[in-house]
Symmetry: D2
Protein backbone atom coordinates (compact mmCIF):
# COMPACT_ATOMS: atom_id res chain seq x y z
CA UNK A 1 0.00 0.00 0.00
CA UNK A 2 1.28 3.45 -0.77
CA UNK A 3 2.61 5.36 2.23
CA UNK A 4 0.53 8.40 1.29
CA UNK A 5 -2.64 6.51 2.14
CA UNK A 6 -1.57 4.45 5.13
CA UNK A 7 -0.71 5.72 8.63
CA UNK A 8 2.79 4.25 8.32
CA UNK A 9 4.51 7.65 8.53
CA UNK A 10 3.09 8.78 11.87
CA UNK A 11 5.81 9.77 14.37
CA UNK A 12 7.22 7.10 16.69
CA UNK A 13 6.89 7.28 20.46
CA UNK A 14 9.52 4.58 21.05
CA UNK A 15 13.21 4.77 20.18
CA UNK A 16 15.30 1.83 18.98
CA UNK A 17 16.59 0.80 22.43
CA UNK A 18 13.14 1.00 24.03
CA UNK A 19 11.56 -1.16 21.33
CA UNK A 20 14.51 -3.59 21.35
CA UNK A 21 13.97 -4.08 25.09
CA UNK A 22 10.27 -4.80 24.51
CA UNK A 23 11.11 -7.40 21.85
CA UNK A 24 13.27 -9.41 24.21
CA UNK A 25 11.01 -9.03 27.27
CA UNK A 26 8.76 -11.88 26.05
CA UNK A 27 9.97 -15.36 27.04
CA UNK A 28 8.85 -16.80 23.68
CA UNK A 29 10.71 -14.05 21.82
CA UNK A 30 13.85 -14.96 23.77
CA UNK A 31 13.35 -18.61 22.79
CA UNK A 32 13.07 -17.43 19.16
CA UNK A 33 16.27 -15.38 19.65
CA UNK A 34 14.58 -12.35 18.13
CA UNK A 35 16.38 -9.07 17.81
CA UNK A 36 15.29 -5.69 16.55
CA UNK A 37 17.27 -4.93 13.42
CA UNK A 38 15.88 -1.57 12.36
CA UNK A 39 13.28 1.01 13.36
CA UNK A 40 12.37 4.10 11.41
CA UNK A 41 9.21 6.16 10.99
CA UNK A 42 7.80 3.64 8.52
CA UNK A 43 9.23 0.18 9.31
CA UNK A 44 10.06 -2.15 12.14
CA UNK A 45 12.46 -4.94 11.12
CA UNK A 46 12.98 -8.00 13.32
CA UNK A 47 15.34 -10.89 12.71
CA UNK A 48 15.09 -14.50 13.87
CA UNK A 49 18.03 -16.86 13.46
CA UNK A 50 17.44 -20.46 12.46
CA UNK A 51 17.21 -23.13 15.14
CA UNK A 52 16.63 -26.82 14.60
CA UNK A 53 13.50 -27.01 16.76
CA UNK A 54 11.51 -24.76 14.38
CA UNK A 55 11.37 -27.39 11.63
CA UNK A 56 7.91 -28.68 10.60
CA UNK A 57 8.93 -31.44 8.23
CA UNK A 58 12.25 -33.22 8.79
CA UNK A 59 12.91 -34.45 5.20
CA UNK A 60 12.84 -31.07 3.42
CA UNK A 61 13.47 -29.22 6.66
CA UNK A 62 11.28 -26.15 6.29
CA UNK A 63 10.25 -23.97 9.22
CA UNK A 64 6.77 -24.33 10.74
CA UNK A 65 4.19 -21.99 9.24
CA UNK A 66 3.01 -21.23 12.76
CA UNK A 67 6.33 -19.54 13.43
CA UNK A 68 6.05 -17.42 10.29
CA UNK A 69 2.58 -16.46 11.54
CA UNK A 70 4.14 -15.65 14.93
CA UNK A 71 6.68 -13.36 13.24
CA UNK A 72 3.92 -11.56 11.33
CA UNK A 73 1.78 -11.17 14.46
CA UNK A 74 4.55 -9.76 16.62
CA UNK A 75 6.18 -7.54 14.00
CA UNK A 76 2.83 -6.00 13.03
CA UNK A 77 2.23 -5.49 16.75
CA UNK A 78 5.57 -3.71 17.19
CA UNK A 79 4.81 -1.47 14.21
CA UNK A 80 1.79 -0.25 16.23
CA UNK A 81 3.75 -0.24 19.50
CA UNK A 82 6.40 2.04 18.00
CA UNK A 83 3.68 4.62 17.26
CA UNK A 84 1.75 4.25 20.55
CA UNK A 85 4.56 3.60 23.00
CA UNK A 86 3.00 0.32 24.17
CA UNK A 87 2.11 -3.13 22.84
CA UNK A 88 -1.49 -3.93 21.93
CA UNK A 89 -3.56 -7.16 22.04
CA UNK A 90 -4.09 -8.89 18.69
CA UNK A 91 -7.74 -9.23 17.70
CA UNK A 92 -7.27 -11.38 14.60
CA UNK A 93 -4.70 -12.14 11.93
CA UNK A 94 -4.46 -13.21 8.29
CA UNK A 95 -1.33 -14.93 7.03
CA UNK A 96 -0.43 -15.99 3.47
CA UNK A 97 2.33 -18.55 3.00
CA UNK A 98 4.21 -17.90 -0.24
CA UNK A 99 7.30 -20.13 -0.13
CA UNK A 100 8.77 -22.67 2.33
CA UNK A 101 11.34 -21.20 4.75
CA UNK A 102 14.38 -23.43 4.29
CA UNK A 103 17.12 -21.53 6.10
CA UNK A 104 17.67 -18.52 8.29
CA UNK A 105 17.88 -15.91 9.51
CA UNK A 106 14.29 -14.87 8.78
CA UNK A 107 13.74 -11.14 8.49
CA UNK A 108 10.29 -9.63 9.11
CA UNK A 109 9.20 -6.08 8.34
CA UNK A 110 6.12 -4.54 9.95
CA UNK A 111 4.24 -1.40 8.90
CA UNK A 112 1.10 0.38 10.10
CA UNK A 113 -1.87 0.45 7.72
CA UNK A 114 -4.40 2.32 9.88
CA UNK A 115 -4.07 3.64 13.41
CA UNK A 116 -7.50 4.37 14.84
CA UNK A 117 -8.66 5.30 18.32
CA UNK A 118 -10.30 1.94 19.00
CA UNK A 119 -8.54 -0.42 16.60
CA UNK A 120 -5.43 -0.49 14.45
CA UNK A 121 -4.35 -2.56 11.45
CA UNK A 122 -0.77 -3.39 10.47
CA UNK A 123 0.88 -5.60 7.87
CA UNK A 124 4.12 -7.59 7.96
CA UNK A 125 6.13 -9.82 5.65
CA UNK A 126 8.91 -12.36 6.12
CA UNK A 127 11.84 -12.71 3.71
CA UNK A 128 14.82 -15.04 3.58
CA UNK A 129 18.46 -13.96 3.30
CA UNK A 130 18.10 -13.65 -0.50
CA UNK A 131 15.20 -11.24 0.01
CA UNK A 132 12.61 -13.75 -1.28
CA UNK A 133 9.12 -13.31 0.12
CA UNK A 134 8.20 -16.29 2.33
CA UNK A 135 5.01 -15.12 4.05
CA UNK A 136 2.95 -11.98 4.46
CA UNK A 137 -0.14 -10.91 6.31
CA UNK A 138 -2.01 -8.37 8.36
CA UNK A 139 -3.55 -8.17 11.79
CA UNK A 140 -6.03 -6.07 13.74
CA UNK A 141 -5.21 -4.83 17.24
CA UNK A 142 -7.17 -3.20 20.09
CA UNK A 143 -5.85 0.28 20.72
CA UNK A 144 -8.48 1.64 23.14
CA UNK A 145 -7.43 1.23 26.78
CA UNK B 1 -21.09 -24.94 10.79
CA UNK B 2 -23.58 -27.77 10.65
CA UNK B 3 -22.11 -31.15 9.78
CA UNK B 4 -24.76 -31.72 7.12
CA UNK B 5 -23.25 -28.97 5.00
CA UNK B 6 -19.53 -29.40 5.64
CA UNK B 7 -17.31 -32.27 4.49
CA UNK B 8 -16.46 -33.07 8.12
CA UNK B 9 -18.04 -36.54 8.01
CA UNK B 10 -16.04 -37.96 5.11
CA UNK B 11 -14.32 -41.27 5.99
CA UNK B 12 -10.79 -41.16 7.42
CA UNK B 13 -7.81 -42.71 5.66
CA UNK B 14 -5.60 -42.52 8.76
CA UNK B 15 -6.11 -44.36 12.04
CA UNK B 16 -5.28 -42.94 15.46
CA UNK B 17 -1.77 -44.41 15.67
CA UNK B 18 -0.85 -43.30 12.17
CA UNK B 19 -1.98 -39.73 12.79
CA UNK B 20 -0.36 -39.69 16.25
CA UNK B 21 2.96 -40.63 14.61
CA UNK B 22 2.58 -37.78 12.10
CA UNK B 23 1.91 -35.28 14.89
CA UNK B 24 5.18 -36.08 16.64
CA UNK B 25 7.28 -36.37 13.47
CA UNK B 26 7.70 -32.58 13.29
CA UNK B 27 10.56 -31.23 15.42
CA UNK B 28 8.52 -28.14 16.36
CA UNK B 29 5.60 -30.32 17.42
CA UNK B 30 7.96 -32.27 19.66
CA UNK B 31 9.19 -29.00 21.18
CA UNK B 32 5.51 -28.13 21.79
CA UNK B 33 5.02 -31.58 23.36
CA UNK B 34 1.94 -32.13 21.25
CA UNK B 35 -0.04 -35.32 21.45
CA UNK B 36 -3.06 -36.57 19.58
CA UNK B 37 -5.89 -36.88 22.06
CA UNK B 38 -8.77 -38.05 19.87
CA UNK B 39 -9.61 -38.84 16.27
CA UNK B 40 -13.04 -39.67 14.91
CA UNK B 41 -14.80 -39.17 11.57
CA UNK B 42 -15.51 -35.55 12.44
CA UNK B 43 -12.83 -34.22 14.79
CA UNK B 44 -9.11 -34.25 15.41
CA UNK B 45 -8.17 -33.19 18.96
CA UNK B 46 -4.61 -32.26 19.87
CA UNK B 47 -3.30 -31.27 23.28
CA UNK B 48 -0.35 -29.08 24.18
CA UNK B 49 0.89 -28.88 27.76
CA UNK B 50 2.04 -25.58 29.20
CA UNK B 51 5.71 -24.71 29.17
CA UNK B 52 7.32 -21.53 30.46
CA UNK B 53 8.95 -20.56 27.15
CA UNK B 54 5.57 -20.01 25.44
CA UNK B 55 4.75 -16.90 27.47
CA UNK B 56 4.36 -13.63 25.56
CA UNK B 57 4.05 -11.25 28.46
CA UNK B 58 5.79 -12.08 31.74
CA UNK B 59 3.60 -10.04 34.16
CA UNK B 60 0.22 -11.61 33.33
CA UNK B 61 1.87 -14.67 31.85
CA UNK B 62 -0.34 -15.46 28.86
CA UNK B 63 0.77 -17.66 25.99
CA UNK B 64 1.94 -16.10 22.72
CA UNK B 65 -0.82 -15.67 20.15
CA UNK B 66 1.55 -17.04 17.53
CA UNK B 67 1.43 -20.39 19.30
CA UNK B 68 -2.38 -20.39 19.33
CA UNK B 69 -2.16 -19.66 15.59
CA UNK B 70 0.29 -22.56 15.27
CA UNK B 71 -2.18 -24.88 17.02
CA UNK B 72 -4.99 -23.79 14.69
CA UNK B 73 -2.83 -24.20 11.59
CA UNK B 74 -1.59 -27.68 12.46
CA UNK B 75 -4.87 -29.06 13.83
CA UNK B 76 -6.81 -27.85 10.78
CA UNK B 77 -4.08 -29.46 8.67
CA UNK B 78 -4.44 -32.79 10.50
CA UNK B 79 -8.22 -32.68 10.02
CA UNK B 80 -7.50 -32.71 6.26
CA UNK B 81 -4.65 -35.22 6.65
CA UNK B 82 -6.95 -37.68 8.41
CA UNK B 83 -9.22 -37.65 5.34
CA UNK B 84 -6.46 -37.72 2.68
CA UNK B 85 -3.84 -39.89 4.37
CA UNK B 86 -1.18 -37.16 4.04
CA UNK B 87 -0.41 -33.67 5.29
CA UNK B 88 -1.00 -30.69 3.01
CA UNK B 89 0.72 -27.29 2.65
CA UNK B 90 -1.10 -24.33 4.19
CA UNK B 91 -2.01 -21.61 1.70
CA UNK B 92 -3.33 -19.04 4.17
CA UNK B 93 -4.89 -18.79 7.60
CA UNK B 94 -7.25 -16.61 9.62
CA UNK B 95 -7.06 -16.63 13.41
CA UNK B 96 -9.32 -14.87 15.94
CA UNK B 97 -8.05 -14.40 19.47
CA UNK B 98 -10.92 -14.52 21.96
CA UNK B 99 -9.32 -14.74 25.41
CA UNK B 100 -5.75 -14.83 26.79
CA UNK B 101 -4.37 -18.34 27.37
CA UNK B 102 -3.26 -18.28 31.01
CA UNK B 103 -2.60 -21.93 31.76
CA UNK B 104 -2.42 -25.31 30.11
CA UNK B 105 -2.89 -27.79 28.72
CA UNK B 106 -4.37 -26.19 25.60
CA UNK B 107 -6.75 -28.41 23.65
CA UNK B 108 -7.37 -27.78 19.93
CA UNK B 109 -10.10 -29.36 17.81
CA UNK B 110 -9.90 -29.42 14.00
CA UNK B 111 -12.68 -30.14 11.53
CA UNK B 112 -12.96 -30.15 7.73
CA UNK B 113 -15.19 -27.50 6.14
CA UNK B 114 -14.67 -28.34 2.45
CA UNK B 115 -12.48 -30.97 0.83
CA UNK B 116 -12.00 -30.17 -2.85
CA UNK B 117 -9.74 -31.65 -5.50
CA UNK B 118 -7.43 -28.62 -5.66
CA UNK B 119 -7.95 -26.93 -2.31
CA UNK B 120 -9.41 -27.71 1.09
CA UNK B 121 -10.63 -25.58 3.98
CA UNK B 122 -10.69 -26.58 7.65
CA UNK B 123 -11.43 -24.84 10.92
CA UNK B 124 -9.98 -25.28 14.40
CA UNK B 125 -10.47 -23.83 17.87
CA UNK B 126 -8.42 -23.81 21.08
CA UNK B 127 -9.96 -24.19 24.54
CA UNK B 128 -8.53 -24.14 28.04
CA UNK B 129 -9.06 -26.83 30.68
CA UNK B 130 -12.38 -25.24 31.68
CA UNK B 131 -13.56 -25.51 28.06
CA UNK B 132 -13.41 -21.74 27.51
CA UNK B 133 -12.80 -20.69 23.90
CA UNK B 134 -9.38 -19.02 23.59
CA UNK B 135 -8.89 -18.78 19.82
CA UNK B 136 -10.49 -20.02 16.63
CA UNK B 137 -9.83 -19.84 12.95
CA UNK B 138 -9.73 -21.44 9.55
CA UNK B 139 -7.13 -22.20 6.90
CA UNK B 140 -6.91 -23.14 3.22
CA UNK B 141 -4.66 -25.98 2.08
CA UNK B 142 -3.38 -27.22 -1.30
CA UNK B 143 -4.72 -30.72 -1.92
CA UNK B 144 -3.69 -31.23 -5.59
CA UNK B 145 -0.37 -33.05 -5.91
CA UNK C 1 -17.64 -25.30 15.95
CA UNK C 2 -19.53 -27.09 18.69
CA UNK C 3 -22.31 -25.10 20.29
CA UNK C 4 -21.06 -25.97 23.77
CA UNK C 5 -17.97 -23.85 23.19
CA UNK C 6 -19.35 -20.95 21.17
CA UNK C 7 -21.69 -18.20 22.38
CA UNK C 8 -24.26 -19.23 19.76
CA UNK C 9 -26.88 -20.23 22.36
CA UNK C 10 -27.10 -16.93 24.23
CA UNK C 11 -30.68 -15.60 24.44
CA UNK C 12 -31.96 -13.30 21.67
CA UNK C 13 -33.03 -9.72 22.30
CA UNK C 14 -34.78 -9.42 18.93
CA UNK C 15 -37.79 -11.38 17.74
CA UNK C 16 -38.38 -12.51 14.17
CA UNK C 17 -40.42 -9.47 13.09
CA UNK C 18 -37.98 -7.00 14.61
CA UNK C 19 -34.99 -8.60 12.90
CA UNK C 20 -36.91 -8.98 9.61
CA UNK C 21 -37.57 -5.21 9.68
CA UNK C 22 -33.87 -4.51 10.25
CA UNK C 23 -32.92 -6.70 7.29
CA UNK C 24 -35.06 -4.73 4.87
CA UNK C 25 -34.21 -1.28 6.31
CA UNK C 26 -30.97 -1.17 4.31
CA UNK C 27 -31.35 0.08 0.72
CA UNK C 28 -28.76 -2.40 -0.53
CA UNK C 29 -30.59 -5.27 1.21
CA UNK C 30 -33.76 -4.19 -0.54
CA UNK C 31 -31.92 -4.21 -3.87
CA UNK C 32 -30.76 -7.75 -3.01
CA UNK C 33 -34.37 -8.65 -2.15
CA UNK C 34 -33.24 -10.18 1.12
CA UNK C 35 -35.69 -11.69 3.53
CA UNK C 36 -35.29 -13.23 6.94
CA UNK C 37 -36.19 -16.90 6.66
CA UNK C 38 -35.57 -18.15 10.19
CA UNK C 39 -34.38 -16.97 13.59
CA UNK C 40 -33.81 -19.14 16.60
CA UNK C 41 -31.47 -19.03 19.58
CA UNK C 42 -28.63 -20.40 17.48
CA UNK C 43 -29.12 -19.41 13.85
CA UNK C 44 -30.14 -16.52 11.64
CA UNK C 45 -31.12 -17.62 8.11
CA UNK C 46 -31.42 -15.10 5.28
CA UNK C 47 -32.46 -15.78 1.70
CA UNK C 48 -31.59 -13.89 -1.46
CA UNK C 49 -33.36 -14.65 -4.73
CA UNK C 50 -31.42 -14.68 -7.98
CA UNK C 51 -31.39 -11.60 -10.14
CA UNK C 52 -29.57 -11.15 -13.43
CA UNK C 53 -27.48 -8.17 -12.32
CA UNK C 54 -25.54 -10.26 -9.76
CA UNK C 55 -23.68 -12.26 -12.40
CA UNK C 56 -19.87 -11.93 -12.50
CA UNK C 57 -19.14 -13.86 -15.66
CA UNK C 58 -21.76 -13.97 -18.41
CA UNK C 59 -20.71 -17.26 -20.13
CA UNK C 60 -21.03 -19.57 -17.12
CA UNK C 61 -23.26 -17.11 -15.32
CA UNK C 62 -22.13 -17.45 -11.72
CA UNK C 63 -22.86 -14.85 -9.05
CA UNK C 64 -20.20 -12.34 -8.05
CA UNK C 65 -18.07 -13.45 -5.10
CA UNK C 66 -18.45 -9.98 -3.65
CA UNK C 67 -22.16 -10.68 -3.17
CA UNK C 68 -21.43 -13.95 -1.38
CA UNK C 69 -19.07 -11.94 0.82
CA UNK C 70 -21.86 -9.42 1.36
CA UNK C 71 -24.22 -12.21 2.44
CA UNK C 72 -21.64 -13.54 4.90
CA UNK C 73 -20.92 -10.08 6.31
CA UNK C 74 -24.56 -9.16 6.86
CA UNK C 75 -25.76 -12.54 8.13
CA UNK C 76 -22.91 -12.78 10.63
CA UNK C 77 -23.80 -9.23 11.67
CA UNK C 78 -27.47 -10.17 12.21
CA UNK C 79 -26.41 -13.17 14.30
CA UNK C 80 -24.79 -10.64 16.67
CA UNK C 81 -27.68 -8.18 16.29
CA UNK C 82 -30.18 -10.83 17.36
CA UNK C 83 -28.27 -11.22 20.65
CA UNK C 84 -27.58 -7.52 21.27
CA UNK C 85 -30.73 -5.93 19.91
CA UNK C 86 -28.79 -3.70 17.50
CA UNK C 87 -26.51 -3.99 14.48
CA UNK C 88 -22.75 -3.61 14.90
CA UNK C 89 -20.00 -2.24 12.61
CA UNK C 90 -17.86 -4.85 10.87
CA UNK C 91 -14.16 -4.62 11.72
CA UNK C 92 -12.86 -7.22 9.27
CA UNK C 93 -14.00 -10.31 7.42
CA UNK C 94 -12.64 -13.56 6.00
CA UNK C 95 -14.47 -15.33 3.20
CA UNK C 96 -13.73 -18.69 1.57
CA UNK C 97 -15.27 -19.42 -1.84
CA UNK C 98 -16.00 -23.13 -2.19
CA UNK C 99 -18.14 -23.50 -5.34
CA UNK C 100 -19.55 -21.11 -7.98
CA UNK C 101 -23.11 -19.92 -7.27
CA UNK C 102 -24.99 -20.80 -10.45
CA UNK C 103 -28.60 -20.28 -9.44
CA UNK C 104 -30.76 -19.04 -6.61
CA UNK C 105 -32.15 -18.50 -4.16
CA UNK C 106 -29.01 -18.32 -2.01
CA UNK C 107 -29.52 -19.18 1.63
CA UNK C 108 -27.10 -17.89 4.29
CA UNK C 109 -26.92 -19.02 7.91
CA UNK C 110 -25.17 -16.93 10.57
CA UNK C 111 -24.08 -17.99 14.05
CA UNK C 112 -22.24 -16.30 16.91
CA UNK C 113 -18.79 -17.64 17.79
CA UNK C 114 -17.86 -15.26 20.61
CA UNK C 115 -19.76 -12.34 22.06
CA UNK C 116 -17.41 -10.14 24.08
CA UNK C 117 -17.88 -6.73 25.67
CA UNK C 118 -15.65 -4.93 23.16
CA UNK C 119 -15.68 -7.21 20.12
CA UNK C 120 -17.68 -10.12 18.78
CA UNK C 121 -16.99 -12.81 16.19
CA UNK C 122 -19.57 -14.63 14.10
CA UNK C 123 -19.50 -17.09 11.22
CA UNK C 124 -21.81 -17.56 8.24
CA UNK C 125 -22.14 -19.86 5.24
CA UNK C 126 -24.03 -19.72 1.96
CA UNK C 127 -25.69 -22.76 0.38
CA UNK C 128 -27.61 -23.29 -2.83
CA UNK C 129 -31.07 -24.84 -3.12
CA UNK C 130 -29.54 -28.34 -3.06
CA UNK C 131 -27.83 -27.52 0.25
CA UNK C 132 -24.35 -27.43 -1.34
CA UNK C 133 -21.85 -25.18 0.44
CA UNK C 134 -20.93 -22.24 -1.82
CA UNK C 135 -19.02 -19.94 0.53
CA UNK C 136 -18.26 -19.60 4.23
CA UNK C 137 -16.47 -17.18 6.46
CA UNK C 138 -16.27 -15.20 9.67
CA UNK C 139 -16.14 -11.60 10.72
CA UNK C 140 -15.24 -9.47 13.72
CA UNK C 141 -17.56 -6.69 14.92
CA UNK C 142 -17.28 -3.79 17.37
CA UNK C 143 -19.73 -4.29 20.23
CA UNK C 144 -18.62 -1.53 22.63
CA UNK C 145 -20.68 1.63 22.22
CA UNK D 1 4.78 -3.92 1.07
CA UNK D 2 7.89 -2.74 -0.74
CA UNK D 3 7.86 -3.31 -4.49
CA UNK D 4 11.32 -4.88 -4.37
CA UNK D 5 9.89 -7.86 -2.51
CA UNK D 6 6.49 -8.28 -4.14
CA UNK D 7 5.75 -9.42 -7.70
CA UNK D 8 3.96 -6.12 -8.38
CA UNK D 9 6.45 -5.05 -11.09
CA UNK D 10 6.11 -8.07 -13.39
CA UNK D 11 5.24 -7.08 -16.98
CA UNK D 12 1.57 -6.81 -17.97
CA UNK D 13 -0.03 -9.01 -20.64
CA UNK D 14 -3.11 -6.80 -20.93
CA UNK D 15 -3.24 -3.22 -22.14
CA UNK D 16 -5.60 -0.57 -20.78
CA UNK D 17 -8.36 -1.10 -23.34
CA UNK D 18 -8.30 -4.88 -22.98
CA UNK D 19 -8.56 -4.68 -19.19
CA UNK D 20 -11.22 -1.95 -19.38
CA UNK D 21 -13.33 -4.25 -21.56
CA UNK D 22 -12.96 -7.09 -19.04
CA UNK D 23 -14.08 -4.80 -16.21
CA UNK D 24 -17.35 -3.96 -17.92
CA UNK D 25 -18.03 -7.49 -19.21
CA UNK D 26 -19.46 -8.55 -15.84
CA UNK D 27 -23.15 -7.69 -15.36
CA UNK D 28 -22.57 -6.84 -11.69
CA UNK D 29 -19.69 -4.54 -12.61
CA UNK D 30 -22.00 -2.75 -15.03
CA UNK D 31 -24.57 -2.38 -12.25
CA UNK D 32 -21.77 -0.87 -10.12
CA UNK D 33 -20.88 1.44 -13.03
CA UNK D 34 -17.22 0.49 -12.66
CA UNK D 35 -14.60 1.90 -14.95
CA UNK D 36 -10.90 1.32 -15.24
CA UNK D 37 -9.14 4.53 -14.30
CA UNK D 38 -5.47 3.57 -14.59
CA UNK D 39 -3.23 0.62 -15.38
CA UNK D 40 0.52 0.54 -15.09
CA UNK D 41 3.09 -2.14 -14.33
CA UNK D 42 2.36 -1.86 -10.63
CA UNK D 43 -1.23 -0.74 -10.11
CA UNK D 44 -4.75 -1.26 -11.36
CA UNK D 45 -7.12 1.56 -10.36
CA UNK D 46 -10.89 1.17 -10.64
CA UNK D 47 -13.53 3.75 -9.86
CA UNK D 48 -17.12 3.28 -8.76
CA UNK D 49 -19.53 6.22 -8.67
CA UNK D 50 -22.02 6.55 -5.86
CA UNK D 51 -25.55 5.26 -6.32
CA UNK D 52 -28.35 5.32 -3.79
CA UNK D 53 -28.94 1.57 -3.75
CA UNK D 54 -25.49 0.85 -2.23
CA UNK D 55 -26.40 2.36 1.15
CA UNK D 56 -26.34 0.02 4.16
CA UNK D 57 -27.79 2.33 6.76
CA UNK D 58 -30.21 5.05 5.70
CA UNK D 59 -29.70 7.53 8.59
CA UNK D 60 -25.95 8.08 8.21
CA UNK D 61 -26.02 6.83 4.63
CA UNK D 62 -22.77 4.87 4.39
CA UNK D 63 -22.11 2.30 1.66
CA UNK D 64 -22.48 -1.41 2.41
CA UNK D 65 -19.25 -3.08 3.54
CA UNK D 66 -20.04 -5.95 1.20
CA UNK D 67 -19.57 -3.58 -1.73
CA UNK D 68 -16.20 -2.42 -0.40
CA UNK D 69 -15.31 -6.12 -0.14
CA UNK D 70 -16.52 -6.56 -3.73
CA UNK D 71 -14.25 -3.72 -4.88
CA UNK D 72 -11.27 -5.28 -3.11
CA UNK D 73 -11.99 -8.74 -4.53
CA UNK D 74 -12.35 -7.59 -8.13
CA UNK D 75 -9.52 -5.05 -8.14
CA UNK D 76 -7.08 -7.57 -6.63
CA UNK D 77 -8.29 -10.01 -9.27
CA UNK D 78 -7.63 -7.52 -12.09
CA UNK D 79 -4.13 -6.88 -10.72
CA UNK D 80 -3.47 -10.60 -11.34
CA UNK D 81 -5.40 -10.57 -14.64
CA UNK D 82 -3.23 -7.74 -15.97
CA UNK D 83 -0.15 -9.94 -15.46
CA UNK D 84 -1.67 -13.21 -16.72
CA UNK D 85 -3.94 -11.98 -19.48
CA UNK D 86 -7.01 -13.61 -17.90
CA UNK D 87 -9.15 -13.40 -14.77
CA UNK D 88 -8.72 -15.96 -12.01
CA UNK D 89 -11.14 -17.50 -9.46
CA UNK D 90 -10.92 -16.11 -5.93
CA UNK D 91 -10.05 -18.71 -3.31
CA UNK D 92 -10.49 -16.56 -0.21
CA UNK D 93 -10.38 -12.94 0.86
CA UNK D 94 -9.61 -10.79 3.90
CA UNK D 95 -11.07 -7.32 4.19
CA UNK D 96 -10.47 -4.66 6.85
CA UNK D 97 -12.98 -1.82 7.17
CA UNK D 98 -11.25 1.37 8.29
CA UNK D 99 -13.81 4.17 7.86
CA UNK D 100 -17.43 4.41 6.66
CA UNK D 101 -17.81 5.26 2.96
CA UNK D 102 -20.08 8.31 2.98
CA UNK D 103 -19.85 9.55 -0.60
CA UNK D 104 -18.41 8.65 -3.96
CA UNK D 105 -16.80 8.01 -6.24
CA UNK D 106 -14.88 5.20 -4.53
CA UNK D 107 -11.44 4.54 -5.95
CA UNK D 108 -9.78 1.13 -5.52
CA UNK D 109 -6.14 0.27 -6.23
CA UNK D 110 -4.99 -3.32 -6.70
CA UNK D 111 -1.44 -4.68 -6.64
CA UNK D 112 0.11 -8.13 -6.91
CA UNK D 113 1.87 -9.49 -3.83
CA UNK D 114 2.95 -12.91 -5.13
CA UNK D 115 2.34 -14.53 -8.50
CA UNK D 116 2.96 -18.27 -8.24
CA UNK D 117 2.30 -21.11 -10.67
CA UNK D 118 -0.59 -22.56 -8.69
CA UNK D 119 -1.81 -19.62 -6.60
CA UNK D 120 -1.43 -15.87 -6.51
CA UNK D 121 -2.00 -13.24 -3.82
CA UNK D 122 -2.91 -9.60 -4.39
CA UNK D 123 -3.90 -6.67 -2.20
CA UNK D 124 -6.27 -3.78 -2.78
CA UNK D 125 -7.48 -0.67 -0.96
CA UNK D 126 -10.41 1.69 -1.32
CA UNK D 127 -10.14 5.46 -0.81
CA UNK D 128 -12.65 8.29 -0.96
CA UNK D 129 -12.28 11.45 -3.04
CA UNK D 130 -10.15 13.05 -0.30
CA UNK D 131 -7.74 10.09 -0.49
CA UNK D 132 -8.82 8.75 2.93
CA UNK D 133 -8.41 4.99 3.36
CA UNK D 134 -11.85 3.34 3.71
CA UNK D 135 -11.05 -0.36 3.41
CA UNK D 136 -8.14 -2.62 2.51
CA UNK D 137 -7.51 -6.29 2.11
CA UNK D 138 -5.96 -9.16 0.24
CA UNK D 139 -7.12 -12.24 -1.59
CA UNK D 140 -5.77 -15.54 -2.89
CA UNK D 141 -6.53 -16.70 -6.44
CA UNK D 142 -6.13 -19.97 -8.36
CA UNK D 143 -3.68 -19.45 -11.21
CA UNK D 144 -3.19 -23.06 -12.40
CA UNK D 145 -5.46 -23.97 -15.30
Amino acid sequence: MTEEISDSRLPNKLGFDELAAKVTSAPFHRWMNLRLLALNERDVVIEMPWRDEIVAEPTIGYAHGGLLATLIDLTADYAIAAKLGRGVPTVDMRVDFHRPALSGPLRTTGRVIKLGRTLATAEAWVVDTAGKLLASGRATFIVAT
